[in-house]
């Protein structure tokens, strides 16, 4: 057991856990940030996707010790009030079915849009390939990312 100082969604947290504990379980069990989901535990489904310095990583494969000193962002901190273009697009297009995978989908998509504001279908498929949806909402996820890209572009154009 060691103490780790983490910065999550802009807030500092100090947790006392074993060094190999995955960030996923620190978020969910230690800190109660349950928006990040446990799906498979082996980095195969993407439900636990969070950002480290803006880059999408698998929370279940990231030891807490590796997240120290980095900006950790979870679905709860993607925006202040649920108005990230992806969150708005997801609501407008009813992307979710059961919704369990969608936090991970949105976090991966957010990382994509940050480096590629206008992705093609192929760009989206390549970036999202590691995020599984058992309800198979893939076509709406793709539409949602395009819609979010448009929302973000229009907002910029207005500014």
């Amino acid at each position: 057991m060691s103490t780790y100082n983490l910065k999550i969604n802009g807030t500092k947290h100090s947790v006392n856990v074993a060094s190999e504990t995955p960030l996923l379980w620190v978020l969910r069990d230690t800190l109660g940030l349950v928006g990040t989901k446990f799906g498979c535990g082996i980095g195969q489904c993407g439900a636990c996707t969070v950002h480290l310095n803006g880059i999408a990583v698998r929370g279940c494969q990231t030891p807490v010790s590796a997240a120290v000193g980095l900006e950790i962002t979870t679905i709860e901190g993607l925006s202040q009030d649920g108005t990230h273009p992806l969150q708005k697009a997801w609501c407008e297009l009813d992307v979710a079915q059961c919704g369990y995978c969608q936090a991970g989908q949105i976090m991966t998509a957010a990382s994509l849009l940050a480096r590629n504001p206008n992705p093609s279908d192929q760009d989206i498929d390549d970036a999202m390939a590691g995020n599984l949806c058992r309800c198979a909402t893939y076509t709406r996820i793709r539409a949602g990312i395009h819609h979010a890209a448009n929302l973000a572009a229009n907002k910029e154009a207005k500014v």
Binding site: T30, A47, L78, D94, C135
Partner: protein, 446 residues
């Protein structure tokens, strides 16, 4: 399976259908009698002051707030949105003024299972009648106050309108008067003609979309009870097996582990000894991760029992033998004259079909949160079949079903797997034995 499903009452239907294939669900779907009238009057809850609540699904307060109940599990099929839409359509309120609430298991809501794609068809007419009954009372209250025939009044966007005199009154202002009227026979109320629908058939956003995209704790696995432990349950890998011994001392010495114990009892599920609670080893820890890590150190000597040598290859061979000898075969359908049709056919096609056992792979791992207090149990359960959870947990703990309370959470994928109550039984038994509230979680990879 024979075709007696049309004669099954609801409870029998659930009992039987969860044990077999989806075939009976289809039978029930076609022969559904859940739409039948006669239940609505039983659905009236305790009356609340200042609230018009003619049945358990609808309440309207004086400030005009319309609260509609969504009683069945949301699995991603969308019924938390679509079922209240049915109520709202007949009631005549604007969807934007509606607040939708989920409710715990309670017989006042009628059936609360979701399976076999039956929730909407079996709820449709019933919910329409509930909405129309409330509308009828509100219209009557308005008509009485104006001294005009109810037939001259219509409803729109949460108001009753009397066109000839150009008068309008909001539902909220009718709460007291409508609450005093006798609830009419639900069969007598006028349902809208589908051509009058304004909400049904339109596209509305899922009521929990904003919560899904911001990571709110909607799912079973997200529930937290103060002081709870995190548990995993290592079940015998063969149905019908038992625990002979386990290295509990090693497991208990792992970081964060609070307790570990063997459960060697079985609790049958609908008389099937291999469903429900089966023997295994429970490990309780201060976090899911520590429980999972301790699970990796667990070594169990199993008595795998009578089915240890069963195999897919063996089943295939047995099926082949049965087809060849005819022994044990049962004709399940016989529409028309099948034998004659085969005899008179010019070409015969023959094929063998094999359907392998396939996991449901729900993305949300099986889990339940349980709090046992004396002879009462509170469960937070991502179940498609809360009534079966209630009955089977009661049986496992030797308590009355009414002492098992169930919060039905949103479900991260059902696919029929969550029609079975085993995760809830395990959580309740572990919580009782450990004298600690617990959340169980399936380890997907060992």
């Amino acid at each position: 399976m024979n075709t007696q499903s049309s004669e099954l009452n609801r409870r029998a239907f659930l009992k039987v259908s969860t044990l077999v294939s989806t075939g009976l669900f289809l039978g029930y779907y076609i022969n559904s009698s859940d739409d039948a009238v006669g239940e609505v009057s039983k659905l009236k809850p305790e009356a609340l002051d200042s609230t018009f609540s003619p049945n358990a699904f609808i309440s309207i307060t004086k400030d005009g707030t319309v609260t509609l109940v969504s009683a069945r599990p949301e699995i991603g099929q969308g019924i938390k949105t679509s079922l209240p839409m049915i109520l709202a359509e007949e009631l005549g309120v604007n969807w934007k003024d509606v607040k939708v609430v989920s409710v715990p298991l309670n017989s006042i809501y009628g059936g609360q299972a979701a399976g076999g794609s039956t929730s909407t068809p079996t709820s449709y007419l019933r919910l329409r009648r509930l909405g129309a009954t409330a509308r009828t009372l509100l219209v009557q209250a308005a008509a009485n106050s104006w001294g005009v025939p109810a037939a001259e009044c219509k409803v729109k966007d949460g108001s009753v309108i009397h066109t000839p005199s150009a008068r309008t009154v909001k539902f909220g202002d009718l709460v007291d008067a409508a609450s005093k009227l006798p609830v009419p026979n639900e069969a007598s109320v006028r349902l809208k003609d589908p051509s009058e629908f304004t909400l049904l058939g339109s596209r509305v956003s899922g009521v929990d979309n904003d919560k899904v995209v911001t990571g709110k704790p909607l799912f079973g696995i997200d529930q937290v009870v103060p002081g709870m432990v995190y548990a995993v349950y290592a079940k015998c890998p063969v149905w019908g097996g038992k625990v002979v011994s386990a290295n509990l001392d090693v497991v208990k010495a792992q970081p964060g582990v609070r307790d570990a114990f063997i459960i060697n009892e079985t609790v049958p599920y609908h008389n099937n000894p291999v469903l429900g609670l089966v023997p295994g080893v429970a490990i309780l820890a201060d976090s899911t991760w520590n429980a999972f890590s301790a699970r990796k150190q667990l070594q169990v000597v199993w008595d795998e029992g009578a089915f240890a040598k069963d195999s897919w290859a063996g089943y295939k061979e047995k099926a082949k033998q049965m087809v060849q000898t005819g022994e044990g075969l049962k004709r399940v359908r016989n529409d028309g004259d099948v034998d004659k049709a085969f005899e008179s056919a010019t070409t015969l096609h023959e094929a063998d079909y094999h359907f392998a056992f396939i996991g449901h792979t729900n993305l949300e791992p099986q889990n339940t949160t349980a709090l046992v207090t004396g002879d009462k149990v509170q469960l937070w359960s991502p179940t498609q079949n809360p009534t079966d959870v209630q009955n089977s947990v009661a049986e496992a703990l030797g308590i009355e079903p009414e002492n098992v309370s169930i919060v039905i959470t949103r479900i991260g994928g059902g696919f029929g797997r969550r029609l079975h109550p085993d995760p809830a039984i395990e959580a309740a038994v572990i919580a009782k034995k450990s004298k600690s509230p617990c959340k169980t979680c399936l380890v997907k990879r060992r």
